[in-house]
Point group: C2
Chain length 274, copies 2
Amino acid sequence: EGHLQGVFSLRDMALAQPNTRLFNLLKKDAISVPVDADAEDVAHLFDKYNYYALPVVDKDQKLLGVITIDDVIDVMREEATEDIYLSQGVPLEERVDTPWYESIKSRMPWLYFNLFTAFLAASVVGAFESTIAKFAVLAFFMPIIAGQGGNAGMQTVTIVTRGIALGEVPKGEGWHILRKELLLGLLNGLAMGIVVGAVGFIWKRTISLGLVVFLAMMFNMITAGIVGTIIPLGLRAIRQDPALASSIFLTTFTDTLGFAFLFLLARVLIPGVR
Amino acid sequence: EGHLQGVFSLRDMALAQPNTRLFNLLKKDAISVPVDADAEDVAHLFDKYNYYALPVVDKDQKLLGVITIDDVIDVMREEATEDIYLSQGVPLEERVDTPWYESIKSRMPWLYFNLFTAFLAASVVGAFESTIAKFAVLAFFMPIIAGQGGNAGMQTVTIVTRGIALGEVPKGEGWHILRKELLLGLLNGLAMGIVVGAVGFIWKRTISLGLVVFLAMMFNMITAGIVGTIIPLGLRAIRQDPALASSIFLTTFTDTLGFAFLFLLARVLIPGVR
């Protein structure tokens, strides 16, 4: 008793002959979901098979209740908000009408965390203070190289995160994506690198400057493709939401490495700069 | 003929006495949606009132078809993808398994647009080349001040965009949000400004440097709150999706103004720097 035996369809009942026994309308192979199932997985099940309701059972197949499709819509809405918020490091509980003192409490820890990561990236700049003093034009290319890496990386992160959320990235298939993003990083790096390299050369009539910014852009775009793939896949591997603050982790990498590429290459390749 | 007269409930029919006339089960005040309704608006209607199906009519109330809840789930899924993709400037059509040559075609125009905006922000840095050559430590604070503005601004953009999508921001109510975000920008600016100001002062034992980076951070965080509110509200006002490339527009502002605040304040406040 209390165990799921099957389900009835209201449509079958309405269309049945009046003298049909209810038992003959019972569908025995009823699909059910375990009570500890993940809400997002259940939502995907409804989406895939167009169910309107599913029974919920415990591990002994005992019937505990029914999930209907309007519950699922609520889950999907929450999930969408969650993905956007998480990827930007925005606290989940905040809405436009949250009072300002609550907003401060929820936003400020993230901003302090961001500040910490920003100091990490800036410390690379600090280490090359003498290089910048000698050749201040490098400061012009800092935001361009770091920023383009961040933008290209976020394209990758967004597509990979969404692919994971939609169940389009089976475990162990990460390599295919990594290979594709590596190739895209290389091609985007060439395309963007040629533009910045040309600007560097034409502006200062210095071939070595053009070469430095071309190579720094190339390396940073390739880094962006690799890191942008690894962050969401890595978060999934350690059973965290792939969207979790991915933009903050990514830009820490693309800023830090972008600056390092730029200044190291300048020291090595531009005569008179150390 | 062909006009919507009302709807029947399958439940009412199944539970009705066998001799009831169908006409008596007709619900005449049927809710319907016009054929040119926005798919997202219809999805919100289903979500709010827990409908399972709604009739679709033309402008003469002629019945054209029925929308069921599984169509709505598809719309909500697309909408969630759209919001995330749009806000990052990621092409809507791309998925993880899109071939690389298609990905390049869809991503590269965005990256070139980003590159253009990055050059705009960097041109501020270029204009202050002599300032940086004199006082290279300013380059250390560039990514911190610009980056914190970008992060705080994206918190605002994300919350405002989501609020608009959920219908929580009635037209004309934008002022309330702007006032709140202005206050938050001020408080966040104080909190972050004190940290960077202290680092600037303690590191170089220069009060004026501490004051410059404190004020630059303050101004940029206030800018981030204002711009982060205005971008999504402005996009809605001109009937564009509020999520559209908001991160790119925002960081263009926070980078450009962040650099300008930093270098202008340095010229005015730090003795010997021009």
